[in-house]
């Protein structure tokens, strides 16, 4: 089935008319969090307004193919390559990152980096958000990830347990359309209901995975006195595979393909384009546009694009949010904008773990706990790369089909960070720009042409193995997002300023990962080509050894949830302790990131919060006082600074 996006839905809402409306909920951000909440609230009969910073364009196949063509034409094929760079709603780009000189913040790109550690982490500001470029790995968190403080004295405990979240994980797996087999995913305490099957069967491991598995399955690793046997395990994937007829008690599952208004059936099953990041050409990979289409079809969701939230207004007396003031730029390619407002019973900030706290801090709302913007987390990626003895067909499949998950949990976490290991089907692409860099060096300095070039490419590219260690980063209040009037974007919004360092705990995990990679390569008979460049922007030294650390785009922690208003920003429902009708949702609520890519957990949290929001809306039958503290709520015009 294809997802029908209602034609004209991105333009049909007049912001001026919407300004006089009182919605049940105003949602900032049209990514997966906002889309899921909009879908659930509207399906329950509630009226929702979504404010989206990206261009106000319908999700059409033609628009999607414009992304695709922009990608094909791009010289740099980084994870933002398909998406338009917008001065009015800028976004970080991996290619922006520079080494940081101590004491001098790098303000050369939208995300101001205060250091000391520089990161290439990104998020995408278009309709559908970062799920447009996400890889689509959908690991559940381990039960122990929710109790890190109690169990290991590191990081924080959640106000929720795995069991609390488990039903929402299942719901998120339906919504995203996850392909996996339960027998591969029940490990280290992850449990499923007895009759549970994933919506679709697991994607097959790649030939490269199988080549690695031949030597690695059964490899013994001792850590903290505990013996483990490693195995190459398929990852659950947020992309369409073979629908499992046993799903939902035998009702089966219908995979959702491309978003389109017209008759285009494509994307019902992954075709192995090996391009999940930055864009799946057929939309076999989930993107939040699929959920937005569902939400918009209810007829109860209004969408205003080109709407960049500027300020959250509150009523100090009632401790409620009264309106969100936003700047609606007239056109993506010009600086004119109109100041507008949006009002609702509930307000939901669903931007992301950088933009959510940025907006609050820019509104002067630091939070009574003082934790707004603090505890920034991401995953720290360590790459190790080698050449296998034989061609293993690298560069085929989805970006990553399998890896090693046996070191995600255990007692060792009281001392060092855990990690998941990805086997990258795209070879040394991430580490060294393969295969183009191989081509260039073979031709320009290897005197290769003709048959010897073809031979060289097979020798050098088809044998590539890159392991990506996704190492957990614990919450640290000094890692934080702040704002400053010194750094303003074109629309006059304060830009996010990131202060970030990799904690020692993580670096101990990194150092261990590097040692383990050497053992793995030795067991495979692989040539280890890993070499970390001291001039690399993410170079970090630990115990005298240097490592290249990369960002994971797994943003979290900046409005952390907790049981207590003094030690957290939101409660377990992601409701702000300080303002009764404000929800801050997404990765920012997560107290730990564990060793899972964050999107599935974000989706589960949002589905859970949507229930809480509906309950709150149901309980608030009395009219809400929405008197604005701004006398004149009429639109005003402005001009952006570019």
């Amino acid at each position: 089935m294809y997802e029908k996006f209602p034609e004209g839905a991105a333009q049909r809402t007049d912001p001026a008319v919407a300004a006089d409306d009182l919605y049940d909920a105003v949602i900032v951000g049209g990514g997966i969090s906002g889309a899921l909440i909009a879908a659930r609230l509207s399906q329950a009969g509630r009226r929702v307004l979504i404010l989206e910073a990206g261009p106000a364009e319908d999700l059409t196949l033609r628009g999607y193919e414009d992304y695709l063509n922009r990608f094909y034409e791009a010289i740099s094929k980084d994870n933002q390559a398909p998406y338009p760079a917008l001065p009015n709603a800028p976004m970080p780009r991996g290619t922006d990152v520079r080494p940081i000189v101590p004491g001098a913040p790098d303000a050369s790109a939208y995300l101001v980096q205060n250091g000391p550690f520089a990161t290439d982490t990104t998020y995408t500001r278009v309709l559908g958000g970062t799920t447009m470029h996400w890889e689509g790995k959908t690991l559940r968190m381990l039960p122990e990830d929710f109790r890190m403080r109690s169990l290991y004295g590191e990081g924080a405990d959640w106000p929720l347990s795995y069991d609390d979240l488990a039903p929402y994980y299942s719901e998120a797996e339906r919504e995203i359309g996850v392909s996996a087999d339960v027998e591969d995913q029940a490990y280290l305490g992850i449990t499923f209901d007895d009759d549970y099957v994933f919506p679709m069967k697991g994607l097959p491991l790649s030939y490269l995975d199988r080549t690695v598995a031949k030597d690695i399955d059964g490899m013994e690793v001792e850590l903290d006195g505990v013996q483990r046997r490693l195995r190459v395990r398929p990852f659950p994937q947020g992309r369409n595979g073979i629908a499992n007829p046993d799903y939902d008690g035998g009702k089966g599952y219908v995979p959702q393909g491309a978003v389109s208004a017209y008759q285009v059936e494509v994307g019902e099953r992954c075709q192995g384009n090996n391009n999940c990041v930055p864009i799946c050409p057929v939309q076999a990979k989930y993107n939040a546009g699929k959920t937005l289409a569902v939400a918009l079809r209810t007829g109860r969701v209004d969408l205003v694009g080109q709407a960049v939230a500027h300020k959250v207004h509150i009523d100090e007396r009632t401790r409620r949010v009264t309106e969100i003031e936003y700047r609606r730029y007239d056109r993506p390619d010009s600086p004119g904008f109109t100041t507008m407002r949006a009002r609702g019973r509930l307000f939901v900030l669903a931007a992301n773990a950088v933009e959510n706290p940025r907006l609050m801090l820019a509104s002067g709302l630091r939070g009574s706990s003082g934790l707004m913007g603090r505890n920034f987390m991401d995953h720290a990626y360590l790459l190790a790369w080698g050449l296998l003895p034989e061609p293993a067909g690298t560069f085929r499949g989805t970006v990553c089909t399998g890896g090693i998950a046996d070191l995600r949990g255990g007692r060792f976490r009281s001392r060092q960070a855990a990690f998941t290991i990805d086997i990258h089907n795209d070879g040394w692409g991430w580490a060294r720009g393969a295969p183009m860099t191989d081509l260039i060096s073979l031709v320009d300095s290897g005197s290769r042409y003709g048959a010897s070039l073809r031979q060289g490419l097979v020798d050098r590219v088809s044998r590539q193995l890159q392991l990506a260690f996704m190492v957990e980063v614990p919450a640290d209040p000094s890692n934080r997002i702040t704002v400053s009037p010194d750094f303003i974007d074109a629309l006059g919004n304060m830009r996010p300023v990131l202060t970030y360092d990799i904690p020692e705990y993580t670096m101990r995990g990194v150092a261990y990962a590097r040692q383990l990679s050497k053992r793995i390569f030795a067991r495979l008979g692989a040539e280890d080509h890993t070499a970390y460049n001291p001039n690399f922007w993410g170079y970090a030294v630990h115990d005298g050894e240097g490592y290249e650390i990369r960002g994971g785009n797994h943003l979290a922690g900046t409005h952390v949830m907790g049981r207590d208003r003094t030690t957290s920003v939101v409660d377990a429902d992601q409701r702000c302790w300080d303002y009764g009708n404000l929800y801050m949702v997404g990765g920012g609520s997560m107290p730990t990131v564990g060793t899972s890519n964050v999107t599935l957990t974000i989706a589960a949290l949002c589905l859970r919060s949507a229930r809480a929001m509906l309950a709150r809306l149901d309980s608030e039958t009395a009219p809400v006082n929405v008197t604005s503290n701004r006398r004149d709520a009429a639109p005003t015009s402005g001009k952006a600074a570019w």
Binding site: I242, Q263, V264, E265, V266, R269
Partner: protein, 370 residues
Amino acid sequence: MTVSTIENRDDLIRYLEAALALEHATLPPYLTAYYSIRSTTNSDAAHIIRVAAVEEMLHLTLVANVLNAVGGRPDLTRPGFVPSYPAYLPDGEDDFTVDLRPFSPEAVETFCKIERPGKAPSADERLLSAPADRAPLLVSSPTAEGMRFYSIGEFYEEITEGLEKVAADDPALFRGDPARQVGPEYFYSGGGTMIVVTDLDSARRALQFIAAQGEGLDSGIYDAEGELAHYYRFRQLQLGRYYQEGDEPGTPTGPPLSISWDDVHNVKVSAKLADYPPGSELARVAREFNADYGALLALLTQAFDGRPALLQDAVCDMFRLRDGFNRLICNPLPGHDGLHAAPTFEIEPAAGSDQPAARDAGEPTRAVTP
């Protein structure tokens, strides 16, 4: 009511074999037009043709399921299974040629004719005598010599009625091994689900689905699932606009399609190997394509003959044939005034090969041995 040309299970099987060949016969014309479109252009048209081609594959598989259900054995490798182009299809009293053409108004006209609803004005006119000079004529009766059907729709009507009749006479008609059925796990397509055929009801549904998806139901241009029939999909290319719900057949009111007839490789219409320079590299590549296509048909035969899981491999082979198709179409055909080459679909009888021929630039490729 005229006498049925399907008297027994053997007749039915012959009809279903003819239906299998008919469903396949539309693929080369669709694929030729589809792949003649230059890369990254004509998105609207490309999607419309691609979806139709994928759904012809679905129809092919559904016919195979019906054939398997009644104990037949689908064979896509028998001589004559792939017609020589141009082939002929009926259009009521008249007929029309089905060529392998580049994407063009003529090609779209042909596609509309292929998919156009064609109900015979009376039962007597369902079967007409077939003129001898129209060979191959794709909806000839396999049992009534020299007769052909008024339309594809009438052909399927005949099969459905014959099926009902034979099923009534023969309680053991659906004797096929259910394990031979291709289920939805092996075939995926947005425009309709795979129907596993085990009895009269499911067989009827499969056949009706095929007829309805092509021509549309009597009730309107959209079916119950909100899907537009193929005929109307192609009409959009003629009328320049998309249909949307509630539209009348003659006047789609959706957004305009953008069509660029020039962004097309102008391939020679229904090219033959004889058009290729003898002994040339290009001729060799064209022959190799045909051999690969023959191997695909052999693999599909295996999939339909008891090993449905092979369909997944067959789909991968189709993806690879796409690349070979594109390569040929980008090559000028020497001596043809700038016209380009295209696959000829002249399939040699399978030379006992089970596996698709594996080639890369004329060199053998093979798997890495572990």
